[in-house]
Each structure stands twice: as C-alpha cells, then as structure tokens.
Amino acid sequence: MVMSSYAVRAQNVTKAFRIHGERNRTLKDKFIYAGRAKFKDFVALDNVSVDIPRGATVGLIGVNGSGKSTLLKLMSRILYPDKGTIEVNGRVSSLLELGAGFHPDFTGLENVFLNGSLMGLSKKELNRKLDAIVDFSELGDFIREPIRGYSSGMYMRLAFSIATAVDPDILLIDEILAVGDAPFQAKCMSRLKELQQANKTIVIVTHDSGTVERFCDTAVWLDSSRVRSYGSPKEVVRGYLSETFVRSHEGGSVMSFDRNKASHENAKAHEAVSETNPGTDCAQIALKATSGLGEGMVEVGGRLSLNVNILPMKDFKAVTPRIRVSSEDGVNLLEAELFQDENKTVVLSEGLERAFSVDFPNVTLMPGEYNVALELWTDDGEPLDVPEAKAKVSVIGEEKAHGYVSLLRVWKI
C-alpha cells in the first residue's frame, strides 16, 4: 500500500442528519404516514474538504453546532458521509465523549482492557502498556474500583491515559480535557506535545482559542457547516472570535436550523439597521487620522491625532462627539466621548464649520489595521441623525506578542 502523505483527507464531504419531529418507528406509523415525511434534513457538514497532513496538529474551531464534532466523528468512522469521501490513514485513537467505551460495572483495570480492545489492541500489547497507563492516570487505588464511582475528572484521566498510550497514528480529541484539574491538564498538554514531536497527527476540537494558537500548527474554522477559513492559527482564531462576537451582539442567531434562512435573516437584520439611519444629512463630518509617519498610519507607542471637521446643516445646542476605535475584525477597543471625558459639549450652528482634534499621545496597540469612527450624540445620550465618519489606521512596529493591546511588560526572572 502506498502510504499517503495525508493522515486524513476529507473531500467534498456532506453529512445531513434527519431530525425527526416525531419518530415513525413502528410499522403502523410507517404505513399511516407513508409519503408524508415527518423529518427535516439538518445539514451538519456541507461540501467540506479538509486535508490534514501527517504529523500536523490541527485545531477545529467554530460555534456550537457548526459541525466540528460531526467532522471528528466522520474521521473516527463512527459516522459515514452522505456524499464525498473521507480517507483516514493510520491507527486512530479517539477521545470523543467521556465514558465512551467504558463499562461502569468494571473496575478501572478491566476497563483498560475493554477500552484498549475497542481500539483494536491485543491483550498482550495492553499488558505491556498497563503500568504506563495506570501511572499516567494517577488514579492510585481507585484503579481497582468499579468506575461507576469515578468523578468526571477521573474518567477523563483514565480515558486520556489509554487513548495516548495505545500509540495511535492519529489522535482525535473532542473538548474533554477541560474537565481535568490544572496539573493534569498541564500533564496532558505535555503528553500531547510528545506525540506532536513523535510526528503523530492530532486533531483537537476546542473552544479555548489560546490552546489553538499556542499548540496547533493549523486551525480550521467551521462556520454553518462549511469551512470558513483554514490556515495559521493566529489569523483563523482572530477571524473567528471577532465574527462570532459581532454576531452575538447583533442578536442574530448564531445557531440556526436552516443555514440559508439564518444568513437570510442576518442580511435582513442588516437592512433593517440601515433603514433606521436614513441619510438625511443634518451635518457632514470629516475625519482624518495623522501621525508623524503620515496619514492613516502610526507606529506602536507613537502619537496619533484625529482631526475632525463638522459642517452642520442646522443648529445643535449640546453635542458630544463619540470616538470608537475597533480592530479590523470588529472588536471594540475604545469608546470615549467628550462629555464623559471632559464634561464639555459642543454647540453647532447651521452652516458654520467646526474643527477640533483628539490626540492619542501613546498608541499602545498591536501592529495591525484598526477602524476609527466618530459619531455625534446629544448630552443626554441620544444619537444624532448624522452618518458616522470613519477612518482607517495602520499601526506598524516591532511587536511579537499576540492580542490587541501592546502592554508594556518587564520580565523579572
């Protein structure tokens, strides 16, 4: 057999589940409701293609219901794709659900053999690995107790110990490490790193974006049953975080039964928002961001000036400008207004241009693209019917850390 350089290769995989309103399980129901389908198809994965090279560590991220676990179950061959192919090369060991492949009445030791045999290992191999498994799990005397009395953390210890001891080529992990205590989690991570160095393939589903950034060399973002992005963990995680936070703020359904309908509704929501802000301009605002480097650009720690020009079309008695700085992926970094900061307001008179500026003497942002917006509000918190002014700022500089804010730091070791 020619060994493929891919550990897992999913090509155009589609998987739909039938959601039964009420299950027609009996013959009577099947006859009575024949032809009248009582189920809907829920597309959990829609034409997904993912290649996982041998030895890669891949993080799957996405909101609940985006298809991560389904993809993992397809890789572990618990489910079969409806369309497309999924090719898995090598011995798979999976940690999908707590207690999977355990018998509650058996002792921990007996379950090592049961669980190991479920992964296709012989008794001899298991006997050889038994001590290592028991040692790693740190279960002590509990290993001789029926596991029905185990806590979820103890379950996880045993499951993880077995799954990693069986020398898998591919390890699939679905968000179960979280139940372990901190020292054991750390131990798990170092075991996973050993496997990583031994060129094993690891696929991990997690909501902890930090884990993905630190530990994975590739991230896959699944969104509404499709692969949204694939690539360097840092970028994929950023895109994922900002988008999902924006979505939950808008109140749109992150999870939806009908994918198409959901995006439709989201689009509608957007339309609705812009309709409430018709462009009946009662003022024109211009916003310009400048620094020593030029317009729309500043270096980390440098000074940035926002120059604002307002041309009102009617009189306003007390207006407070509000400045919003957000990252390119939509995370709000700052919202400040004149009234709160300085307890001042601006009086605008029709046709009389008004200019002012806001200075940021020390821009402690990470290198990247940022958006600056200026809105006008009344002093009692009502937005004015004025289109907001926007400007883009690129922050440049030498900064190796991740995040949005470049906090000064001093290591003392």
């Binding site: 061959r77 618990i78 489910l79 999977a100 296709g120 298991l126």
Partner: protein, 258 residues
C-alpha cells in the same frame, strides 16, 4: 466482505471480550449462575419429554433423545437470532461513541450461542447413552454441522439486527415468526411424519437441514445426506453473504439511528 472479515479479525480481542461477557452476563445475578448453562437444557428436556411422550404419546422410539437433539440445534439458531436482533440498540451508547466493526455485536452472540451449545453437549451425550444410543463414528459430523449452522445463523443475525435498528417492530414480530418457524422445522416431529406432498417444501427451510443432519448423526447413526447437506452449505453461505451485505450497508447510519 473479505476486508470486513479481516477487520473483525483485527478486533479479535474485543470480539472475545464480547463473547465471554455475553456468556458471563447471561445468567449474571442468578443464584445458580453458570450452572444454568446446563440446567436450562436439562429442564427443557424434562418439560418436552413429559409433554410429548406422556401426554401426546409420540411413537418415535427414544423420543426425548430424538427431540432433545433437534431442540438444541434449533435453540442455537433461534436463541441467537432472538438475542442478536436488538443487540445494536442495546449497545447503542457504544455504537454512538466509538468505532469498531459493528458486525462484532451480532457475531459475538452467535459464537457465544455456539459455545453454549457445546456446553449443553455435556447434558446431551450422557442422556443419549442413558437412552441406549451409544456413540458412533457418525457423531464426528457434529462439529461440521455446527459450523455450517453457525454460518447460516450469523447471516440471519446480521440481517435482523441491522434491519431492527431502523424498524423496531422486527424485534417483536420476530418472536412470533420464530415460533412459526420452529413448528415448520422437524424438531418435535420427524421428517418422515411430514405428508409426502409437503416434504419438499419443508426442505427449503435451511434450519431443517441442520436439525435433520444432527438427528442423522446423533440419533439414526446415519452418515450425512450429502445432497441435502450441500444445499444447506450453499444456502448458509448465500445467507451470510446477503446478511453481511445488508448489515454493511445499513451499519453506516447506526450511530444516528440508535
């Protein structure tokens, strides 16, 4: 299908684990425990021989022995299928959470029933000798018949266990179906008692072949009826092939349906 068999072989540790746990848990919790493996056929023997030789007065000589041979052969088939039909649902939590060749579930039941059959020989053989049916060279056919019967039983077990996941009525209908099947199989009567014009019809039933073959070997001390036995072998292989094919096809959706 050969790749499937190879995979089941790779999971042999699990397979034996399932077989032994099936044997162990069969009478778990009962006071007499494993003794039931022997007590069960013994008590069955008492009931059937009282009914059929004292009340019904069947004229076959050594009737309890005759009937017991057929009954054990039938039970290997009937009990396996009855127990296998719901096995995928019973092991649903495992099917949903972990991969293994799903065939192991029904196949392990068939193998454990076969082992159970072998245990019950410990009752059957002394009983035959007490009844005056002494060992003969024809008894050597027993392992061969047993293997072929297991092949057919495995085919039926695979088929019914897979279909039952999608249509749970099968489990309930099967009880009645097996009862009817039992009575068209010459267990409590002999093949000779069947009216001649129906005899060929009865021979279509593959279980008849096994029961009659066991009776020939153990009771009549006749060698196998080769033509009939060959038919049984062919039917068994076809049933296994078809049953496995259906199972393989349906097993893809097991994790969603159980």
């Amino acid at each position: 299908m050969f790749s499937r068999i190879k995979e089941v072989y790779e999971y042999r540790t699990m397979f034996w684990g399932m077989v032994t746990s099936d044997l162990r848990t069969r009478y778990k919790g009962s006071v007499l425990g494993f003794l039931w493996t022997f007590l069960n056929p013994l008590l069955m023997l008492v009931v059937y021989s009282v009914v059929f030789s004292t009340i019904m007065r069947v004229t076959i000589p050594h009737y309890p022995a005759f009937m017991f041979i057929g009954l054990l052969a039938w039970n290997l088939f009937g009990m396996s299928v009855q127990s296998a039909v719901g096995v995928v649902n019973r092991q649903g939590s495992m099917v949903k959470k972990i991969y293994f060749p799903r065939e192991i579930l029904p196949l392990a039941i068939v193998v454990s029933s076969a082992i159970n059959y072998i245990f019950s020989l410990a009752i059957l053989i002394p009983f035959l000798i007490i009844s005056g049916l002494y060992p003969s060279w024809t008894w050597l056919f027993v392992p061969l018949i047993l293997v072929v019967e297991c092949i057919a039983t495995a085919g039926f077990a695979l088929f019914f266990s897979a279909v039952n996941v999608f249509l749970r009525d099968v489990e309930h209908v099967l009880g009645i179906f097996l009862m009817a099947w039992f009575y068209v199989t010459p267990v409590v009567y002999s093949l000779k008692m069947i009216p001649h014009k129906y005899a060929e019809f009865f021979k279509i039933n593959p279980v008849t072949d096994f029961v009659v073959s066991f009776q020939d070997a153990l009771y009549y001390h006749d060698p196998l009826r080769w033509k009939m036995f060959l038919y049984g072998v062919v039917v068994s292989l076809v049933v296994l092939y078809l049953g496995w094919k259906v199972f393989d096809r349906l097993s893809r959706r097991f994790a969603e349906e159980v």
